[in-house]
């Protein structure tokens, strides 16, 4: 195979005990710091995080959707259990305008239809903690010469979520034609596949309905809701939009940055990046490979040859891809901040804490202003300290601010074990067939032996009786 210079070769394989020690369960953390956002936040942070937290084991059944051929797990959950988890996952991917962080959301816009099998609770938690950029609604185009009015006009036309045909990738689930299938003619295995595809399609359709309801709610409520972004916030975020180097869409300039080489990546592209399927070392995968079959045979003898490699940085190919995020220090809205409708640009206020509070009668709103002011003050001190702009060199994957691809998909190890178990099972089935063939053969031999012995015995008896008859004569 040809190699492109400048990019390192295949990354070293990982063994199971090299897994990141980061604990994806953040349940024990205290979320009371969000109380400043007040009751007006439709879902308080605590209930939101509890609502979205799913058991870690979910991810393995979640990934079965994208890999229907996956090996059966040791303890297979029932169909209805799995369907419930899939439905919960689909709900977790809905973009809701009132679940927002610093003007972005907790679920992806929908630039990609595929590969959404990341652990939703882990990602939402990281966004709320400002360790990962929120999912900002992307701009398809951006021109720095636009006036504020132009920009606001573009922003007010944005939907919360893309329509399915606007995605980068085709959604095969939606294209399944279940009506053309006669269920009575299917084998057990085919029926299982069919029911799963049918369910996936129905779930996708339901998800479209749910998202449409969220869009409607947003349109109806955004003029009055305190959870809809103020014009100041929108302008502050999008005035200096930058292009994500992977999807080529425009986002507020506070993107995630690779821990290794400090390149920008939007959160929607980041959650797409994951380990390759378990494979053999130096696997030439599919086409045009003469030793592919040999490799497969080798793997059947020893399924532990299968490896799972770290996802690499898309920019510099460093293994164990991870990003860090430095939030804009003076924008702290939504979950863990002030209601986004109350955000005022620091340039427009006089800066020394003299924000006019005349119009504010609500004590809670007053409180919100104080929070924002605090942030302005902190921001002026901290703005130069941003990790992304200040750091030289790379950060280790274990750095507390780094979010790795393995951290948001902790099921990779389960997937590797499943792939190995599947191979082992196939190998066992193959040797069982071999053994039973041997057994049949040896049985045949034994019977043959017995028949010969019996024939000999009979012939001896015959001979003896012939001799007896002869001697009597």
């Amino acid at each position: 195979m040809g190699q492109v210079r400048g990019r390192p070769g295949p990354s070293p394989s990982t063994t199971l005990n090299q897994q990141s020690s980061e604990d994806p369960s953040l349940t024990s953390k205290d979320h009371s710091s969000s109380s400043n956002s007040g009751d007006s936040v439709r879902n308080s942070r605590e209930s939101l995080v509890q609502g979205i937290r799913q058991p870690v084991s979910q991810s393995s059944s979640e990934s079965e959707r994208s890999r229907p051929s996956q090996a059966p797990q040791v303890k297979r959950s029932s169909r209805s259990e799995r369907e419930k988890l899939k439905e919960a996952h689909a709900r977790g991917l809905l973009v809701k305008y009132d679940e927002n962080v610093d003007g972005g959301y907790l679920a992806p816009y929908g630039t990609y239809n595929l590969n959404l099998d990341y652990q939703i609770s882990v990602v939402k938690e990281a966004i709320i903690e400002r360790k990962l950029a929120p999912f900002y609604t992307p701009l398809q185009d951006f021109d720095a010469s636009w006036t504020d009015e132009d920009l606001l006009a573009v922003l007010s036309n944005l939907k919360l979520h893309a329509l399915p045909h606007e995605a980068e990738d085709e959604d095969e689930d939606l294209e399944y034609d279940e009506a053309s299938v006669d269920e009575s003619l299917l084998s057990k295995k085919e029926l299982r596949r069919h029911l799963s595809k049918k369910f996936n399609k129905q779930l996708k359709l339901k998800k479209l309905e749910w998202q449409a309801a969220e869009e409607k709610r947003y349109l109806e409520e955004r003029a009055t809701s305190r959870q809809a972004a103020s014009d100041d916030l929108k302008l502050e975020l999008y005035r200096t939009s930058v292009e994500c180097p992977i999807c080529f869409l425009y986002y507020p300039r506070w993107l995630n940055y690779s821990r290794c080489c400090n390149h920008a990546i939007c959160t929607e592209c980041f959650v797409q990046i994951k380990r390759l399927e378990p494979h053999l070392p130096h696997d030439h995968d599919d086409e045009g490979d003469n030793n592919g079959e040999d490799q497969k045979a080798k793997a059947e003898q020893d399924p532990n040859l299968l490896i799972s490699e770290y996802a690499c940085c898309p920019y510099c190919a460093t293994p164990n891809f991870g990003v860090i995020y430095s939030p804009p220090a003076y924008i702290r809205t939504g979950l863990g901040g002030i209601p986004p409708a109350l955000f005022k640009s620091p340039l427009k206020s006089s800066g020394n804490g003299n924000i006019t509070t005349d119009a504010i009668t609500d004590e809670e709103d007053l409180n919100a202003f104080e929070v924002q002011e605090n942030y302005f003050r902190k921001a002026s001190m901290a703005s130069a300290m941003s990790i992304a702009t200040q750091r030289r060199g790379s950060l280790p994957a274990t750095h507390p601010q780094v979010i790795t691809t393995d951290f948001i998909r902790p099921d990779w190890e389960q997937n590797l074990n499943n792939a190995r178990a599947k191979l082992a099972k196939r190998a066992a089935a193959a040797s069982a067939i071999h053994a039973s063939n041997m057994l049949i053969q040896s049985n045949e031999n034994e019977i043959e032996q017995k028949m010969i012995q019996e024939a000999m015995r009979l012939s001896l008896l015959e001979e003896e009786s012939r001799k007896r008859r002869a001697s009597v004569k």
């Binding site: 190699q3 990019r7 595929l114 085709e170 995968d285």
Partner: protein, 151 residues
């Protein structure tokens, strides 16, 4: 049918507005994910003077998976088989979504300049390359003249 993602639109536009020397990539009218490609053989390589036609297809999950690329013009090269399939790491496991049509075609052009017979796709060609390099290079030159030079 999905509408064309922004990334593909922008890549296509940039291929036109800022073309790569020695490389053309034109989307087909019926399918904007399918490109007709030509690559000029690099100078001082056995492919010099040839113009090689390729096809390039962007799968549905591009850019999370690599584009599919194949030579249409016959070529004598240890990493390209007789069906035109290319053995190049960045088209397989070393694909990165930060790569583009442009960079992939440049990598293929570089592969023409620097064949790698130690990791072959076309075993017979690679063997010839390792054992009788001068002769192999001569064959590559002849093939270039025969198949890749337009009359």
């Amino acid at each position: 049918m999905s509408s064309l993602p922004k990334r593909i639109i922008k890549e296509t536009e940039r291929l036109v507005s800022d073309p790569v020397p020695g490389i053309t990539a034109v989307p087909s009218e019926e399918n904007l994910r399918y490109f007709n490609v030509t690559i000029e053989g690099p100078d001082q390589s056995p492919y010099e003077g040839g113009i090689f036609k390729l096809e390039l297809y962007l799968p549905d999950d591009y850019p999370m998976v690599a584009p599919k690329v194949r030579f249409l013009t016959k070529i004598y090269h240890p990493n390209i088989d007789k069906l035109g399939r290319i053995c190049l790491d960045v088209l397989k496991n070393n694909w990165s979504p930060a790569l583009q049509i442009r960079t992939i075609l440049l990598s293929i052009q570089a592969l023409l300049a620097a064949p790698n017979p130690n990791d072959p796709l076309a075993n017979d060609v690679a063997e010839a390359w390792l054992q009788h390099e001068t002769q192999a290079i001569e064959t590559a030159r002849e093939w270039t003249k025969k198949y890749a030079v337009l009359e």
